[in-house]
Subunit: 314 residues, 2 copies
C-alpha cells in the first residue's frame, strides 16, 4: 500500500529493530541512502542492521560505515521492520529470504512493482538520497558529516554529478546543505573517479566496439566476456557513446552469461524506459536497462532493432 513520507517516518519511529537493504548490483544511491539512513537511525536510538546481497564495489569503500554491511546468509531474527531502498523488494536478493518482517519501501523509480507492505514512491526525486533527506527532516534527526557524505554521494551519483535531466533545483539545494555539513565535493569525486591502471588500459578494446547507427543517432558499445573479466567497473563505458555529437540513444550491451546479456541505455530525447519495459526491464526516461536472454552478438542486433523501430515510430 502506498503511504506518505509522514507515514513512513511514523512507521520507522514506531519500530526499534530495523534492517535496511539496497538493491543488488549496488550503486551510489542504493549504498549512500542505506548508510545515510543507518547513521541517522543509530543516532536516534534504533538497533539497525544493514544488508546487501552483493559485493561493495571498491569505489564506494570511502563511505563511512560501509564495512557494516552484512551478506544475507543465515536467518536473522528479531527484526521489526525491513526498509528496502532504491528498488522494489524483488531486487534485494536473499535479504527477503533471511529476514521475515514487514517491508517499508522507499524508492524513486517509476518502474517500482509496488509489492512492498508499505511504499513511499517519489518518481519526481532525482535519487532515493533526496527521499532520505526529506525523511530525516520529517523525523527531525539532525544531520552530521557522515550522514551528509552518504546522502551527497547518493544524490550526486544518481544525477551524474548534477549533469542529468533529473537534476532539479531541489537536488542542488539539498547537495548545498550537505556541503554545509562538511562534505568536500572534490574528495568524493576523486574517490569515485579513481580507476585501476588496467581499467584505463582496457578502454581501447571497449572503444573498438563503438559503432554508430541510424544516421549517427544510435551508438552501441559491447562489453565482451573478455573485457568484463579484465576490468573492475564497466559503469562509465556508456559515456563514450553518449557524448558523441548527434547521438540520441547510447547503448551498452554487456556479457553476463553465454546466453544472458545486460543492456544499459542513456538518451537525450527518446524515452528509453518504455523501450526497456517492452523487454522486461525498466528505469527512467533518459536512463534505463533490461536483460536479453541471448548471446552478446544477437542481443546487440536485437536492441538495435528495437530502438530503431521505436525511433522510427516517433
Amino acid at each position: 500500500m502506498e503511504i506518505t513520507i509522514n507515514d513512513a517516518a511514523k512507521k520507522i519511529s514506531q519500530n526499534k529493530n530495523i534492517a535496511i537493504a539496497p538493491h543488488v548490483n549496488p550503486d551510489g544511491d542504493g549504498l549512500g541512502s542505506t548508510l545515510g539512513l543507518y547513521h541517522a537511525l543509530v543516532k536516534s536510538g534504533h538497533n539497525v542492521k544493514i544488508f546487501v546481497d552483493d559485493d561493495i564495489p571498491n569505489a564506494f569503500r570511502f563511505l563511512p560505515g560501509w564495512e557494516n554491511f552484512i551478506r544475507p546468509e543465515e536467518q536473522v531474527d528479531g527484526i521489526d521492520l525491513l526498509i528496502v531502498l532504491d528498488a522494489e523488494p524483488e531486487r534485494i536478493g536473499r535479504v527477503t529470504e533471511v529476514i521475515k518482517a514487514p517491508i517499508l519501501n522507499l524508492d524513486h523509480h517509476r518502474s517500482n512493482t509496488k509489492t512492498a507492505n508499505f511504499l513511499y514512491l517519489a518518481p519526481e526525486r532525482a535519487a532515493t538520497g533526496e527521499i532520505i533527506y526529506l525523511l530525516l527532516d520529517n523525523m527531525q534527526i539532525e544531520l552530521d558529516t557522515n550522514i551528509a557524505i552518504c546522502l551527497y554521494t547518493a544524490i550526486a551519483t544518481d544525477c551524474g554529478f548534477f549533469k542529468y535531466s533529473n537534476t532539479s533545483s531541489f537536488t542542488m539545494q539539498t547537495a548545498a546543505k550537505m556541503l554545509d555539513y562538511g562534505v568536500e565535493p572534490n574528495r568524493i569525486s576523486e574517490a569515485l573517479e579513481q580507476k585501476k591502471f588496467t581499467d584505463v588500459k582496457i578502454l581501447p578494446a571497449v572503444i573498438d566496439t563503438l559503432t554508430l547507427y541510424n544516421d549517427g543517432k544510435i551508438a552501441i558499445i559491447s562489453v565482451t566476456k573478455d573485457i568484463k573479466e579484465n576490468c573492475d567497473s564497466t559503469a562509465d563505458f556508456v559515456e563514450y557513446a553518449r557524448i558523441i555529437e548527434g547521438v540520441d540513444v547510447a547503448i551498452v550491451v554487456k556479457y553476463s552469461d553465454d546466453k544472458v546479456t545486460r543492456i544499459s541505455m542513456r538518451s537525450k530525447y527518446t524515452d528509453v524506459a518504455s523501450i526497456a519495459e517492452k523487454l522486461g526491464g525498466g528505469g527512467h526516461i533518459r536512463a534505463a536497462g533490461c536483460t536479453i536472454n541471448d548471446d552478446l552478438v544477437n542481443a546487440r542486433k536485437c536492441i538495435l532493432a528495437v530502438v530503431e523501430a521505436e525511433m522510427a515510430a516517433k
Copy 2:
C-alpha cells in the same frame, strides 16, 4: 582602487553606455559572466556592447547572445564605462586600445594585478558568474532564462561541474536558482561535453601510449603528430593519466613541431610548477606546463628524468 559590490552596482547604474569584455583565451566563466551581465544591462535600459579579442570556441556557441561579441579592431567612441570580467585589464588584449573609458573590474582570481580604476575582487567566489549574480541581485534586476543559462555556465565550468574544491554551498545554491529560471543542466553539459565521433575513436591510440613509471607514481601519455592532427581537442587526455590509482604526477607530452614538444602536468602531491619553471615554463602547484625543444621521444625521456629526480629529492 578596491570598491564594494554595492559601489560597483552604483557605478554601473550611473553610466548609460557600457562596454564589457572578458579575458582572451575565453572560457565558460569569462564568456558566461559577460553575456549574463550583457542581457541584464540591456534589459535595464543601458546601451551595451561586448568585446572579446579572440575566437569564441565552438563549445560555447550555445550561449544566448554569443554572436553579439565584437572583435576589437577600430576605435570605439562614446563608451562611459568599460567593465572587465574574470581577469585584470592587461588580459583583455586590444580592447583597452580601442576603448578609452574608466575601467570597472570584477574578478575572483587572487592573482589579479589590481590595476583597474575600480576593482571588486572576491577570491572566495568559485566563479565571476557568482559575482554577477550578486551584482544583479544588488541592482534588483530580475533574472530570466537567458541570463540564467549564461551565469549557470559561468559557474559550472569554473568549478568543474561542482566537483572542484572551490565549490561552496553558495555555489550550489546559486546554480539551484538558475535551474528555477529554466536552465536545463543536461542541455548545458551536453553542449559542453559533446565530442566528435573521430575524437572518441582516437582514444585507443592515445591510451596505447600511456605508461606508468616510478612504482606507478608517474603516468605519461604521448600525443603524437598523427593523433594531434586527427582530433579536435587534446585537453581531456591528461585525465586518463590523472585518474589512475596511485598516480601522483600525470604528464602529457604533445607534438608541437618536429623539434618542439609541449608538456602538461597535473599532480596530487608533487609541486609541478617548480618542475615546469626549471624547464622555462610555469603554472600552479597542481597544474603546470613547459616546452622542450626536442622531438617527442626525447622530450618524453627528458621530462620523465626531471620528474623522477624531483620526486627522489623529496
